[in-house]
Symmetry: C2
Subunit: 416 residues, 2 copies
């Protein structure tokens, strides 16, 4: 395979550094190389450095990418998405603009369960076709790795159907999708009066099938009032852990239900959302080494004002991750650039912290810190060129298309 | 010139209706034609209607645009922007993420005056080159008409330089730029101790030159504590009015300084910002028929939480306009789609109200209600196709590129 030589990036933002997630990131920790270059062979980064030095090592037949005037970042790692669903929830979007709350809409039969009804009625091929459009959006935004949850099935058959679509996305796109089983996303209508039976179904039917078909790396749960309480969440998650799955959890989004403490107790990989988490929850996550995944897109889209306390988390030593939470209800955005804008303007994360949270920290949260998330020799050649010369511009200009081109394993996957 | 036939739009959102700006827009007032079509000749819309009917009137040699599966809206009219400046203010963006306020940054020599220093040092050609990039962004977002203010010059020579760049943007792009003179954007450093002398300079030197060269249609002012007070604002605006310019005003953004009342007294075309305006100000604007131009991008980007009271304004019968406020300090977004998202999620405007505020109402605020802002026979063929089948999706998905293609005077100006 030919060598790809990427030359003269105004800033090659490598994030090279210690093999661990980062907290309270200073500019120096981004390890930016001005006039930066790298060589990529067989999909893997061989070397990176200043262009004049790298050029000397460049084979004569290398394919050259001139990145003059452009920033290069590691491909974004979007660590929390729900990309496989049918239809949209634009009706509920309009209802919220007219004053209804997310909770009111859910209580009247809308919300997650309305997407479940449509997703159940859709075929695997139909779901794949729509998800391919979402995959294109991720790519256009500069994302190269996508954590992808099931959760709009809520039956054995439909949860497996969604996870198989995620497997097909992996095969049919250049993006890497990292699958998570989220059978416990909501209590389906037919179990409203017997939630324990649904918990048993998740544990005894869904989970073994998911594990048998190797359809997921992690298990997730929506731990929230009206969804799954602490006791049921713990049952499901312990069963998942015993089956060899890692844990990710939706906690403390709409109410504080003690989910962060459960995440700490179970040593989950991540505790996601955390809008209602306070100092005690933050301390517990820090103590247990759980990574918080913050999802400001959902706070914004629901018109709420309480964002998770990113600064306190960073000060407590947590390795914060930011992600889109892409889904049709509470966060209809596929854009990590938009999430960085939200993190900077609404959560007061610095541009350097935003980059780290969207790349290297997210990679570690997905157990891939050794392969992606930074631009270093031995890691995958996953990177994005932007139409700007300063990495801070990516979060600064918002709503403006700034992606120039995206490379995955050294191959061009998208060009604007 | 050939006829352009646009056929089979899933929704042709025409906004056809009475020849006046709209308030409290209901869905029916968008006058949506399903399977919609229109014919455009010599840059002007000839007829619109259901595709089957329009096809019968279509000349055999018409150039056909197949809009199957796509929404078509009138081109966005962005009624408040500052598109001509040098550099950016990404340093201040980072300072704000670290906790500094916009006001603190301005007090320490940053803010508008930092852009003034750089813009003063740039040549007309340099400014044009950068503004062409901004123009491209507007177009990519589906905007076809852009109100454009000077205001980063603050000397006779540099204000004229900026207005000449705006004139050149009109000549060198397909967008229409509507120029506004904003010499009173800030007090330049050299007049800090003698603001009255700067007011005199604006009135007696800048304004006559601007009028002489016919470089602006309107005059604007930043009426705000630390910028221009009510008395000085009134002097400048009355002089502008006497010179034949229409009035637009920045009022009640950071503090409530009575600017809305002045706008009402002077019967300004628009009162812009209004974050701090209350019921009395809203009533005064309604009484005087002044259109509010709301700029949620700046509230968002500054990390503030007080958005203008759009619902109260609509209920008071005001014909609300929304705009980007595109500028390097407080609102670095060129995207009307993003502004519609902000208006729906943060200001509780319905998707129908957002569309109306971004098109027909904005057109009237620029004295162009008879030419643009809706898709009706006799109006310009300015329209945008989107990658979605329901107009509400444009504000619903955010950070996702949804523009398919843009037409100005019947010519394709952009295609994704």
């Amino acid at each position: 395979m030919k060598t790809l030589a990427v030359l003269h990036a105004s800033q090659l933002v490598t994030l090279a550094g210690p093999a661990r997630p980062r907290t309270g990131v200073e500019l120096s920790e981004l390890s930016i190389i001005p006039d930066g270059a790298m060589l990529v062979r067989d999909g893997v980064i061989v070397v990176k450095g200043v262009s004049d030095v790298i050029k000397r090592e460049m084979p004569g037949d290398a394919e050259v990418v001139d990145a003059t005037g452009r920033v290069i970042l590691p491909g974004f790692v979007d660590a929390h998405t729900h990309p496989v669903f049918a239809g949209n929830r634009v009706d509920e979007f309009e209802l919220r603009a007219k004053g209804a709350t997310y909770e009111e809409i859910a209580a009247s039969g809308g919300g997650i369960r309305s997407t479940v009804r449509r997703t159940g009625a859709a075929s695997e091929d139909e779901l794949l076709a729509q998800a391919m459009k979402h995959a294109r959006w991720f790519l256009e935004g500069g994302t190269t790795t996508v954590e992808a949850k099931s959760g709009y099935g809520l039956t054995v058959e439909d949860e497996l159907k969604i996870l198989r679509v995620i497997r097909r996305l992996n095969a049919e796109t250049s993006l890497e999708f990292v699958p998570t089983f989220l059978g416990a996303h909501a209590i389906p209508d037919e179990f409203r009066n017997a939630p324990g039976q649904y918990v048993a179904l998740v544990i005894h039917k869904m989970l073994p099938s998911v594990v048998e078909e190797q359809l997921a790396e992690s298990c997730d749960i929506f731990c929230e009032r009206g969804y799954f309480d602490i006791a049921d969440s713990e049952k499901i998650l312990r069963a998942a852990q015993e089956s060899g799955l890692r844990l990710r959890m939706h906690v403390d989004q709409l109410t504080n239900s003690g989910g962060a403490f459960l995440a700490a107790r179970l040593r989950a990989a991540t505790a996601d959302h955390l809008e209602q988490a306070n100092a005690a929850e933050i301390a517990a996550l820090a103590e247990a080494g759980v990574q918080p995944v913050l999802l400001p897109g959902s706070v914004y889209a629901l018109g709420k004002s309480r964002y998770p306390r990113a600064r306190e988390m960073i000060e407590a030593g947590l390795a914060v991750v930011i992600a889109t939470d892409f889904n049709p209800g509470s966060s209809p955005t596929p854009s990590m650039q938009m999430v960085m804008s939200l993190a900077a303007t609404q959560m007061k994360m610095t541009p350097a912290e935003c980059v780290s949270a969207a790349t290297i920290n997210a990679a570690y949260s997905l157990n891939r810190g050794d392969k992606i998330g930074s631009l270093e020799a031995g890691k995958l050649g996953n990177f994005t060129l932007f139409h700007c010369a300063d990495y801070r511009e990516i979060a600064y200009w918002f709503g403006a298309p700034q992606t120039h081109s995206v490379y995955i394993r050294g191959e061009r996957a998208y060009c604007a």
